[in-house]
């Protein structure tokens, strides 16, 4: 089943094209990795999908709902508030720099969104929160504040915070690039476990071995375009486009 369909997505900043017609689909249970050089538009793509940036053209469908569409003439129209809200609830986003709430305890970071957005009771939210913290290996840290945790622990809390809202798709924007190298492993392991549980995910990453390992499909982006798309075996084993080859050579 198609969960996300993006067609001809365009985005520019001050007239400068950053996404120049991106189209792809994401199926239920699929793990899609997006790789590409810095500045190629990977973050912008996730930000358009999660409504952090308005698009300049194209269509985005999430879980059968049209979030935004545009005519051939380039008139962009977003769905009504209600729909946008429901689309938002289907998508989770894990940021590069976590963006935890510093004034809330670890547990409160995870319960607050559940209580406000899903209207769960405090008991229920805490139950879900504790289960997720256990899964993340952080059950001892529920009373700690984010600044008392390592980067890797903070990122695990932010993954738990996103998962607590039961998103249909979880998106990651370079979840390990703000971390010390020795801390990336714990995050990659968590994402790998989620992949095993058939969580639908889009992972922007520069960890090539990791992308190869967990992905069902990989997209290589360059300069606002999808240059190549395929299975990890095809894309890493036998890249077709010279730009893909050149990019991957740097990671050999």
């Amino acid at each position: 089943m198609e969960i996300i369909t993006i067609d001809n997505l365009q985005k520019s900043f001050d007239g400068l094209g950053v996404l120049k017609g991106i189209s792809f689909t994401l199926n239920e249970g699929e793990v899609l990795s997006i790789i590409g050089p810095s500045g190629s538009g990977k973050s912008t793509l996730l930000r358009c999908l999660t409504q952090l940036e308005p698009v300049n053209g194209g269509t985005i469908n999430v879980c059968g709902q049209t979030m935004v569409s545009s005519t051939k003439e380039g008139v962009v129209s977003y769905a009504d508030k209600q729909t946008l809200r429901s689309v938002r609830l289907n998508l989770g986003l894990v940021f590069q720099n976590f963006n935890l709430f510093p004034h809330m305890s670890v547990l409160r970071n995870i319960t607050e969104p559940q209580m406000h957005v899903l209207k769960r009771s405090k008991q229920e939210a805490e139950k879900v929160g504790r289960e997720l913290l256990k899964k993340m290996g952080l059950e001892e840290k529920e009373k700690a504040y984010p600044d008392q945790l390592s980067g890797g622990q903070q990122q695990r809390v932010s993954i738990a915070r996103a998962l607590a809202l039961n998103p249909t798709v979880l998106c990651f924007d370079e979840p390990t690039s703000a971390l010390d190298p020795e801390l990336t492993g714990e995050i990659l392991r968590v994402i790998k476990d989620l992949a095993k549980e058939k969580m639908t995910m889009i992972v922007v990453t520069h960890e090539m071995a990791f992308a190869r390992d967990i992905s069902d499909r990989i997209i290589f982006m360059d300069d606002g375009l999808i240059v190549e798309e395929g299975t990890p075996e095809a894309l890493f084993g036998n890249p077709q486009n010279p730009r893909t080859q050149k990019f991957l050579n740097r990671y050999e």
Binding site: R88, L89, L93, H103, H116, V117, Y145
Partner: protein, 211 residues
């Protein structure tokens, strides 16, 4: 001596009333002004900016005189002196508080808004539960300074004839050919500010549970 102290205590109550009422009105009004200053609409933000510039760029004493006497020239009558004092202090302090609020709000990383948005928080919830608590922590030192200044500024109410602590002390000094009353007034102000200062220290400590 007992009589003098009693007079001064009564005047201190007036000073405290000015202090309390000014805070009561200017703290929330300042938030409104800050919002106006940050408004996307350039007309609103410019008008509010001019207001802030006037409030911060002219002496409070002049503003008090203006607030009290301008209605006489325009309408032929004015409100009572005490009301004028409260209005004058409130619009002046709201401007200062607004700038402190604005600085605090703008110092919150954009990621806090983005995380709130992606999680599905409403705008109001984001402000009350994510932004405001962090702003409060950041602005406490600046607010402490401003509130201490307000305690001392209450002495200016005498310019439009309100018998606050300093005015009463001066009168007593003149009457009794003694600097004692003024010295006592100084001690009173000092004590009030010691309490203010201590309260802000406690508040700062209380919010020290995170960096």
């Amino acid at each position: 001596m007992g009589n003098l102290l009693l007079q001064m205590l009564v005047a201190t109550m007036t000073s405290l009333k000015i202090f309390g009422l000014t805070l009561l009105f200017s703290l929330p009004l300042g938030m409104l002004v800050a919002k106006g200053r940050m408004a996307k609409n350039p007309i609103i933000s410019n008008v509010v900016n001019v207001y802030i510039m006037i409030m911060r760029g002219t002496p409070l004493i002049l503003q008090l005189l203006f607030v009290y006497f301008a209605p006489y020239y325009i309408f032929g009558s004015s409100y009572d002196r005490f009301t004028a004092v409260i209005v004058g202090y409130t619009i002046n302090y709201a401007a200062y508080f607004a700038e402190i609020y604005r600085g605090g709000i703008q110092s919150i990383p954009v990621g806090q808004y983005e995380a709130s948005l992606v999680l599905g928080f409403s705008k109001a919830h984001t402000f009350t539960h994510v932004i405001a608590p962090q702003v409060v922590k950041r602005i406490i030192p600046a607010m402490g300074n401003e509130v201490i200044t307000l305690v001392k500024d209450t002495a200016l109410a005498q310019t439009i004839g309100v018998a606050e602590l300093f005015r009463v002390a001066q009168n007593a000094s003149a009457r009794e050919f003694s600097t004692m009353p003024i010295f006592i007034a100084g001690v009173f102000y000092f004590l009030m500010n010691a309490i203010v200062s201590r309260s802000f220290d406690l508040l700062e400590k209380k919010l020290n549970y995170y960096r």
